[in-house]
């Protein structure tokens, strides 16, 4: 433990807390990982995202995902999150705008069997056995950094953690029925949610008192409700919604839960959008990638595989006022073999060296050519 080094400079010392050793298997509940500063994490269902966020979703926090109205990629995140909760047998509450929210459960992905899964962690650039090497080999020279970063963690621990804490999901197969049926899952229609927005959750869900609860909410399409009302009730609804989110935050904090809320920021007015963003502990946004964008294809490698961008705006922090600054905050969402969801750092494509000074390639840290991407 680094003792407060500022014995002389009273009150001005800057110590950093010692990291608590990662305890893989002695967590109090399945699927919970402990971290430094008394933090406990739940997996988001996407191992890459857990790594980026420094462990996973913090328990007691609210995660907000800003959708892109062009594409439903936020559902990928939501499904992974819910499937992970089901696999870990954690109670689930799900609310959505559809008529039968329970049907959404049928779209959850199954756990990928390890034989088929080609994504093996901790492998060097050359040793991947499923044939990826051949196309990757040509790019080794300037994508090396991507592989080396992951090898720092010890392989054994990594594999153990992976089994218990977060799973890869096979998006082509639906989650086994028996898992869903055995599960403590509740789903709410949006009307129930809005009508009694302040009291609905504590009263209608008695299982909230339990130790480990995961909650997912899909508020994104609530604008359906808005269309039929005039301006006054619209304003009312805005304030009700923010108030509800605030109460939700208090409840999540008190009850060991994690709430994931997705919303389309185009529907809310900009000031309410900012209010929601301030309420989030972890804030992510998804942007869809247009299918054929020559500019982007020239700028990035692997463009053909990408389905969207994930941008991390805010990362939840517990017991600390220091903001979390990530090395890179925009990642590409890719579907490996149409099966598993992967998040990768963006890599700038090699520039054609024949015309003028050559640029150093590698992971991009500033946007070039005035593109709208903010790497």
């Amino acid at each position: 433990m680094a003792a407060a080094a500022g014995g002389q400079t009273v009150g001005r010392s800057s110590f950093s807390r010692a990291a608590a050793p990662h305890v893989a298997s002695s967590s109090t509940a399945a699927g919970v990982k402990l971290g430094p500063n008394g933090a406990a994490f739940v997996s988001s269902g996407i191992p890459d995202l857990d790594r980026i966020l420094g462990g996973g979703f913090l328990i007691g926090s609210v995660v907000m995902i800003m959708e892109d109205s062009d594409a439903p990629h936020h559902l990928l995140l939501l499904r992974s999150f819910m499937a992970q909760g089901v696999v870990h047998k954690q109670p689930l509450l799900f609310a959505g705008p559809m008529k039968e929210p329970r049907l959404f459960l049928g779209t959850l992905p199954a756990v990928a069997s390890s034989k088929e899964d080609g994504r093996q962690r901790g492998m060097g650039a050359g040793t991947n056995s499923d044939g990826r090497t051949s196309d990757e080999a040509l790019r080794i020279a300037w994508q090396y950094k991507k592989y080396f970063g992951e090898e720092k963690t010890s392989h054994a621990e990594h594999r153990d953690n992976k089994q218990e804490f977060s799973n890869d999901f096979d998006l082509r197969k639906p989650l086994e029925r028996h898992l869903l049926n055995a599960q403590n899952i509740e789903s709410l229609k949006k009307e129930t949610l809005l009508v009694s927005s302040r009291t609905v959750v504590p009263h209608s869900c008695p299982n909230f008192r339990e130790k480990m609860v995961e909650m997912r909410m899909l508020d994104g399409l609530l604008y359906n409700h808005y269309v039929h009302h005039n301006a006054d009730t619209l304003r009312r609804k805005d304030w009700d919604m923010v108030s509800f989110i605030r109460s939700l935050k208090a409840m999540v904090r008190a009850s060991n839960a994690v709430a994931v809320i997705t919303f389309p920021n185009t529907v809310l007015s900009s000031s309410f959008c900012k209010r929601w963003q301030h309420l989030a502990d972890t804030l992510l946004s998804i942007k869809a990638i247009p299918d054929e964008d020559k500019e982007l294809a020239k700028l990035l490698t692997g463009y053909q595989d990408m389905v969207g961008f994930l941008h991390v705006h805010k990362v939840a922090q517990t017991n600390s006022q220091v903001p979390v600054i990530l090395e890179a905050s925009t990642f590409s969402l890719k579907l490996r073999k149409r099966r598993s969801l992967v998040l990768e750092r963006l890599n700038q494509a090699p520039v054609d060296g024949s015309g003028g000074p050559s640029h150093a390639s590698g992971s991009c840290s500033s946007s070039s050519q005035g593109s709208q991407l903010d790497f």
Binding site: R12, S13, R246, K249, A250, S271, K274, Q321
Partner: protein, 224 residues
């Protein structure tokens, strides 16, 4: 604010004698660290403080602000104000010299609690301001300035800026995120206007970096 220990830029910028301090921040550059700093300074000077923490919810305030079912929000605010006055009186009995500091984190959430009723919120804030003259109290409000950047809801922000003696504004760097510099702070000190000190600096701009238990303040480029 009582001066404490601070040879740092923020203390210099703040000076002393400010009764109403407003801290503004944005999503990209959050200002809660400034509240923590000011709270420490308030307590270190031998004073007492009350923190109305709405952003990190305490269940007590949740109950108070929701009001009894059906009660008007103005009643809840009245009750809240009563609680604050009682807290101040309680701290008065022991120690008479210390200054009392009331901190509100944050005003945007007061608005949410009031269901968008800006009038109620402003009434409440003005009542709090009366405490500064009556009861030797200082106020610190945190407000999110990016919520009010559109035309619709500028009201509360402008009011606060008007009544403040000191405005501390946290903003992100225009160049984006950085690990060494978390943002820039601009401090507008209106007390110096009143004191008619012609040479006194009124507006300060510098960078900050948040640490575990404090923050570093430095002019751009002057960090070792």
């Amino acid at each position: 604010m009582e001066e404490y220990g601070g040879g740092d830029l923020l203390s210099e910028a703040m000076g002393s004698g400010a009764r109403v301090v407003v801290v503004e921040d944005r999503v990209e550059a959050r200002g809660a660290f400034a509240l923590h700093l000011l709270l420490k300074r308030a307590l270190a000077g031998g004073g007492a403080a009350a923190l109305l923490a709405l952003a990190q919810p305490f269940s007590h305030y949740d109950r108070v602000l929701r009001g009894a079912k059906g009660g008007a929000i103005s009643d809840s605010f009245v009750r809240l104000y009563g609680d604050i006055q009682r807290a101040i009186d309680a701290s008065r009995t022991g120690d008479n010299t210390g200054r009392f500091t009331l901190m509100i984190d944050d005003v945007s959430l007061l608005e949410v609690a009031a269901g968008g009723s800006v009038d109620d919120v402003l009434d409440f804030l003005h009542y709090c301001v009366t405490l500064t003259s009556e009861m030797n109290c200082s106020l610190v409000f945190l407000i999110h300035e990016d919520i009010y950047s559109s035309e619709e809801g500028v009201g509360v922000l402008l009011h606060l800026r008007y009544i403040a003696d000191l405005v501390i504004r946290a903003a992100p760097l225009s160049t984006g995120l950085a690990a060494d510099v978390h943002g820039q702070l601009s401090v507008v000190n209106k007390c110096t206007f009143r004191e008619q000190r012609l040479k006194a600096q009124r507006i300060w701009n510098f960078h900050f970096r948040v640490k575990e238990n404090g923050a570093d303040f430095f002019y751009p480029g002057s960090r070792y």
